[in-house]
Symmetry: C2
Subunit: 203 residues, 2 copies
């Protein structure tokens, strides 16, 4: 395989990997646990892969942890072009459609930098994650929603304060997705976050 | 599995995942590609996982990409206690032994936060990476050394300038490890970096 790989394929891969570096400059709504700065999407991707690996046995269905890892490794790259969309922003249907189109175009451009077979594999994995219909994707999406909760709890509310979020809103926007992929994780985490929302009168 | 997991195991996992957040504050010698700031070890870990996934077919031996990904996911966590050791620091044997002991203690403390079976699995994977004796570990180590080269090339020399590195030093400290796990990758990359070292008179 590697012995006969054309130089141009290797160069294409390096260009893709250099382009990917920009994910380290995409800032998210959440702050890191100590509250000192906003989290970027590259370190977030690392952290949720660790969450997925550590919590894999809590999936509600049979998953392939290595496929979940690969999905989470790739899932945020589209933000290099399309930006991060904070989950607690109120968006009209037209905005959602515009964002979905921008992310689809970003996936085509970025994964399209790779040699053809690899581009196809990466796009398929990203599409599967976005479609949220397979056990691996459902668990990956659940985990992606869990990690910011723990960050917000660690630093005094974080994006819940900035976006003025109530517990019923969190149940709808986050809880439903987490519970679908990892119901016991949601049970546990909801008990952890109730005191904060109660103390803040956000229930 | 998840249905019967004791509450304490789940809590232990969450504490480990929160502790891991500190890797986002461990700064490395390399800067990100645009040169604007130093890279942290969490986003570095994400980036080299992407490198490993994209370049997997260039391994000199048969590897299991999912095991390589898991190794790279975990490999830098010890830096939370032991710090990052820039590869171009000149170190005496006694310093190396002290660092190795600090990293071993860090692995015991951090992975020891997890439920017992999982702690054992994570420690075994970290030990395998450090021992650098299996195909998966050799490829993972190679990839860990490749990524900073591309960052330095992108931002005008980076840590090669800061540590006054010559091409023969890079061959010894980095090239040998990369060539062991991915010889064609090293061939290609060495051609890319020769012009910079030549222009700088560092050959
Ligand atoms: Ca390292």
């Amino acid at each position: 395989s590697g012995q006969t790989l054309p130089e141009t394929d290797f160069s294409a891969r390096l260009r893709f990997l250099s382009e990917a570096d920009q994910l380290k400059s995409v800032l998210r709504a959440s702050k890191i646990a100590d509250g000192s700065r906003h989290e970027n999407s590259a370190e977030h991707s690392w952290h949720i892969m660790l969450y997925a690996w550590v919590l894999a046995e809590h999936s509600s269905t049979n998953i392939a942890p290595d496929r979940v890892l690969a999905m989470l490794l790739l899932h945020d790259l589209v933000e290099i072009d399309a930006g991060d969309v904070p989950i607690h922003t109120a968006l009209a249907a037209a905005d959602l459609a515009r964002i979905a189109a921008a992310e689809q175009a970003a996936a085509q451009r970025l994964f399209g930098m790779l040699p053809e077979a690899q581009a196809r594999d990466f796009l398929a994995l990203w599409d599967e994650f976005e479609a949220n219909n397979t056990p691996d994707a459902i668990f990956a999406k659940a985990i992606d929603r869990v990690q910011p909760i723990l960050l917000n709890l660690a630093n005094g509310g974080g994006s819940w304060v900035d976006y003025n979020v109530t517990l019923p809103q969190l149940d709808t926007r986050v809880g439903a997705k987490v519970a679908r992929g990892a119901p016991l994780v949601w049970d546990h985490i909801r008990r952890l976050l109730t005191p904060w929302f109660t103390a803040q009168g956000r229930i």
